[in-house]
Amino acid sequence: MSTADLSPSISIAVQPEGFDPGVEYQQLRSTNHADGATAMFVGNVRDISSASIGHKAAASVLELEHYPGMAESALTAIARAAADRWPLGRVRVIHRYGPLKAGEEIVFVGVTSPHRQAAFDACAYIMDFLKSRAPFWKKERAAGEMEGNWVEARNSDEDALKKW
C-alpha cells in the first residue's frame, strides 16, 4: 500500500428507506483508527398534531419532495466544502424522501476527525448548508387527511449560514 490517503471518504445517500444510526456509526468507525472524534446529527419528524391546540395527538405525516440528481450533487458539494475546511476522515450524509411518519429519522450527518471541535463544527456546518442549499421541500399533513401545508423556509435558516 502507498502512503495515507489524504482525501476524506465522502458518502451521500438520498433514499426513501429508513436508516439505522447505530449501523451508520459502526461504519464511520470501521477500520478508522486515525480519527479520535466522531460527531453525528440525526433529524427526526416532529409530531405536529400534538402541538396544535384542539387536536388529539393523531400521528402526522411529513411528505418530503426532492430534486433527483441535484439533491445528491448539492449534498456532495456541501460535504466537500466541509472537508476542505476541516480535517475530516469520513463524511456520511443521508436524506430521506417520500412520506415519513412522526418520530421517524429524516436526515443523518456523521463526520470523523482527529479533533473534537472540527467534528462538531463540520457536522453543524453541513446541517446549516443542507437546510438552505439542498433541494428538499416538506409538506405536513394530519393523518387521514389528503391536503397538506408546505413548510415555509425560515429566515433564521438563511441567517445561520452567516456565522460560517
Partner: protein, 82 residues
C-alpha cells in the same frame, strides 16, 4: 430545447412538473422566466414570486445565467429540508 422543471408548491400552483421550451430568442434564465410568465395569469402570479430559486443544470443560479440548447432549468420555492 430547454428542459424546465418545477417543484413543491410551485409545481402544485402551476399544475405542471416539467415542460420543454424552444431556446430561440432566449439568452438568460431571466428571459425564460419572463416567457413562462406569459403563459397565463396563474403562471404570471407564480413566477412573480421573488423568493423563487432557480437552478441551471442542477446548480443554484441567478437570472442573468446564460441558457443554451440542452440545458435543464428548475424553478422552486426556498428549500426546507433537514
Amino acid at each position: 430545447m430547454i428542459k424546465v422543471l418545477f417543484f413543491a408548491s410551485l409545481r402544485e400552483q402551476l399544475d405542471c412538473d416539467a415542460l420543454e421550451v424552444a431556446v430561440d430568442g432566449l439568452s438568460t434564465v431571466g428571459d425564460l422566466r419572463q416567457q413562462l410568465a406569459g403563459k397565463g395569469a396563474v403562471w404570471q402570479t407564480a413566477l412573480a414570486d421573488e423568493r423563487l430559486q432557480v437552478a441551471l443544470n442542477q446548480q443554484l443560479s441567478s437570472a442573468d445565467a446564460v441558457v443554451s440548447d440542452g440545458d435543464e432549468v428548475a424553478f422552486f420555492p426556498p428549500v426546507t429540508g433537514g
